[in-house]
């Protein structure tokens, strides 16, 4: 009963996302045609449309829904129900909890109407600037992530007619990608990701509060420490795909390994690189298990003096970071918008022949968004599974473990690439690592917590066996 209902809701949401991807293409094509007619440059219109549909609609809606999802999903992981008491005061709707959806609207209203408090001793200018500096860089990161492939505008239904009525050509490319063809690609990601540290550092410093300062110092040192590992973790993928551009990496992952039996995804070629990148960027998002800068049980964190929507900016930037991290990870390690099927099956060519290039693009865009949502879920699951690391553990993990492994990974990847251009050796090494970890996880006998040690003696001592025997 409930299983069928939940499955139906999930299928409905997938249909909504597919429709949204189609609408994004339509808006991009339409604005492109208008820009073509006005300025003679369609790419301006497409970029403006993408900046709005992808950043303001897709990322912001995903991020604000994640604020609800975090509470609802964590409740399910902990055998609770989660928030369900906010209701719409409309007859017919007031009896339904709507999966807690009214809570996220109520949260927005609460944030916006709360007192906007600025401490007397705070540095007013920096105090105002800090939430913006924390929010803007992570928000901009998504601009380089390619969400769906390039389509000729004429292939989008209705656009050719619109272009004809305006008397312009509809031969320009449309893709769901805010800044296509950005050569620096990943460097842009690193540059803006490292800017986020200013927001947190300034927030703590300008609050003129000891706890906030402590939190911001923790945040700054943690984020700077992990940037090194973050950069090193992706060097392997840069070498493999020979580019810094995320769309080149996505295109490279549509190739096949072992003659097309396995998609050439980054996770198969660079499992260690993936692990390093995921850990390092989770540390960059300052979420559990790396949430020592917030540390709500010891210091309240760098935003302790913030209230209302200023605090909301810090909170929403955390969730935007989750979405962005998922997007970048999908683009680099999980095949971008390509379907999770072996390339030898030719699924994408079949889709293109059946539904045209626009239909294929919508399916691929849907695949990308679903992968992003799945990775968001993985991040939340990690956050609700692991306890917080101690501060010295965070630093030693970053410097003593991730950094040497990252260096070793670069070296091994280089050697394997030199030995074999077709990347099959690299894939064998990667698959061996994955199988080792998964096999160890599944097969290693788990230690059951049956014996309680009351003294220093080993817990495995035989019971009922006298020592003098």
């Amino acid at each position: 009963m409930r299983a069928a209902l939940i499955s139906a809701i999930i299928l409905g949401l997938i249909a909504v996302i597919a429709g949204a991807v189609g609408v994004f293409y339509l808006v991009g094509g339409a604005l492109g045609v208008i820009a073509q007619a006005l300025f003679g440059a369609a790419y301006i219109g497409v970029a403006v449309a993408n900046a709005h549909t992808l950043l303001l609609v897709l990322v912001m809606i995903l991020a604000s829904l994640l604020t609800l999802a975090e509470r609802k999903w964590s409740a399910l992981m902990q055998d609770r129900i989660g928030p369900n008491r906010a209701r719409f005061a409309i007859p017919g709707l007031s009896k339904l909890d709507l999966a807690g959806l009214p809570h996220f609207l109520a949260d927005g209203i609460k944030m916006l109407t709360k007192e906007d408090f600025v401490p007397d001793a705070a540095s007013k200018g920096l105090f105002t600037l800090a939430p913006m500096l924390a929010f803007a860089p992570v928000f901009l990161l998504f601009a380089v992530v390619p969400i769906a492939p390039v389509v000729t505008a004429a292939d989008i239904p209705g656009i050719a007619g619109l272009a004809g009525s305006l008397g312009v050509s509809a031969a320009f490319p449309v893709s769901l990608h805010v800044i296509p063809n950005l050569e620096i690609g990943l460097l842009y990601v690193f540059a803006f990701a490292s800017l986020a540290v200013y927001g947190t550092a300034l927030a703590g410093w300008s609050s003129n509060n000891r706890f906030a300062t402590l939190g911001s110092i923790r945040a700054a040192s943690q984020m700077i420490a992990y940037e090194v590992a973050l950069g090193l973790s992706l060097v392997g993928t840069m070498m493999i795909f020979g580019s810094l551009k995320l769309e080149d990496m996505t295109a490279g992952q549509s190739a096949g390994l072992f003659g097309g039996a396995l998609p050439a995804w980054g996770i198969f070629l660079q499992p260690i690189g993936f692990l390093l990148f995921f850990v390092a960027s989770m540390a960059e998002t300052k979420r559990a298990p790396f949430d020592a800068p917030e540390g709500e049980s010891e210091i309240i964190g760098y935003f302790v003096e913030y209230s209302g929507m200023r605090f909301g900016m810090f909170m929403i930037s955390e969730f935007v970071e989750i979405v962005v991290l998922s997007g970048v990870t999908v683009a680099i390690f999980f095949g971008g918008f390509h379907l999770p099927l072996p390339p030898s099956w030719g699924a994408e060519a079949w889709l293109a022949s059946q539904f045209g290039s626009f239909g294929l693009a919508v399916v691929l865009g849907l695949a990308f968004v679903l992968k992003v949502i799945l990775l968001c879920w993985v991040q939340l699951a990690i956050r609700w599974t692991l306890p917080r690391f101690r501060y010295d553990q965070i630093q030693s993990l970053g410097w003593k473990i991730l950094l040497p492994i990252g260096l070793g990974n670069v070296f091994v990847t280089g050697v394997l690439l030199l030995l074999d251009e077709s990347m099959d050796w690299l894939a064998i090494a990667g698959l061996a690592q994955l199988i080792f970890v998964i096999g160890l996880t599944a097969l290693y006998p788990s230690k059951k917590p049956t014996t309680i040690r009351h003294s220093g003696r080993a817990a495995s001592a035989q019971p009922a066996m006298p020592h003098g025997h």
């Binding site: 409930r2 399910l76 609700w384 599974t385 998964i438 996880t441 290693y444």
Partner: protein, 242 residues
């Protein structure tokens, strides 16, 4: 330097008990994620067990949600739970209370206020013209029930004090306290009177049974509840609201 070395040994001790497998950390994280995922999927797709009678609830498909949706779902109170007071009525609908002040005297919180009077046509017993319990002062100790010689006040409602908008609302007058079915005993003076319409034996049908039985109590058949010993009435919070 000494401090540093001490710190190092402390850390070494905390990691000394870990096996090489645990030191790898990643497999253990994956196992932890498997546990989280199992709970997530079961609780997402399974039906919740809505029975509040059990503590360890199991729904379908491994749903283990333990939440009780409070005002709609309630855990049953245990036997003997001291709930909201009630005054027990007698057959004619008046309270059994004879205004003896025993409860008001024993009450450690002094939350019972009684004004006594006499029936104009009946000089035998008194009755309360006013019997007020301040539920905000009451500490729910149950001493008033112990003290009462007439079984006139009970705390067997299994209802706790419902919320009110004002302090005055928590001061319960006699109209809000007089609840439940009528109860009479052979020893009641209003029953012993000659003009009583109800003969003595009718009021305590268990009397003879108890007198003549010599078997251990546990072996007896469950005693039939007499007409004047009605089963435990069931109350709701709304019964006590103004």
């Amino acid at each position: 330097m000494a401090h540093d070395s001490h710190h190092e040994t402390e850390l070494a001790e905390t990691t000394a008990n870990l096996s090489w497998y645990q030191k790898l950390y990643v497999p253990e994280v994956l196992r932890g994620l498997a546990v989280t995922t199992r709970h997530f999927l079961g609780n997402l797709f399974g039906n919740r067990d809505e029975s509040t009678d059990v503590l360890y609830r199991k729904g379908s498909l491994g749903n283990q949600v333990a939440t009780i949706q409070y005002p709609e779902e309630r855990m049953p109170y245990p036997e003997g739970y001291r709930g909201l007071h009630r005054l027990v009525p007698r057959d004619d609908g008046k309270p059994r209370c004879v205004a003896c002040y025993m409860c008001a005297t024993v009450c450690p919180a002094q939350c019972i206020y009684i004004e006594a009077s006499e029936y104009s046509d009946d000089p035998i017993e008194k009755y309360p013209t006013s019997f007020v319990i301040d539920q905000l002062r009451c500490i729910v100790c149950g001493l008033c029930v112990e003290a009462c010689p007439k079984d006139a006040i009970r705390m067997d409602t299994y209802v706790h004090t419902p919320p009110e908008y004002s302090r005055e609302g928590f001061v319960y007058p006699i109209e809000r306290l007089l609840k439940g079915p009528a109860i009479s005993y052979p020893s009641d003076p209003w029953v012993k009177r000659e003009d009583s319409k109800q003969p003595e034996h009718q009021h305590f049908p268990l009397h003879d049974l108890a007198k003549h039985s010599t078997a251990p109590v546990a072996q007896n058949e469950p005693l039939p509840q007499g007409e004047n010993h009605p089963p435990q009435p069931v109350f709701a919070e709304s019964d006590f609201q103004k």
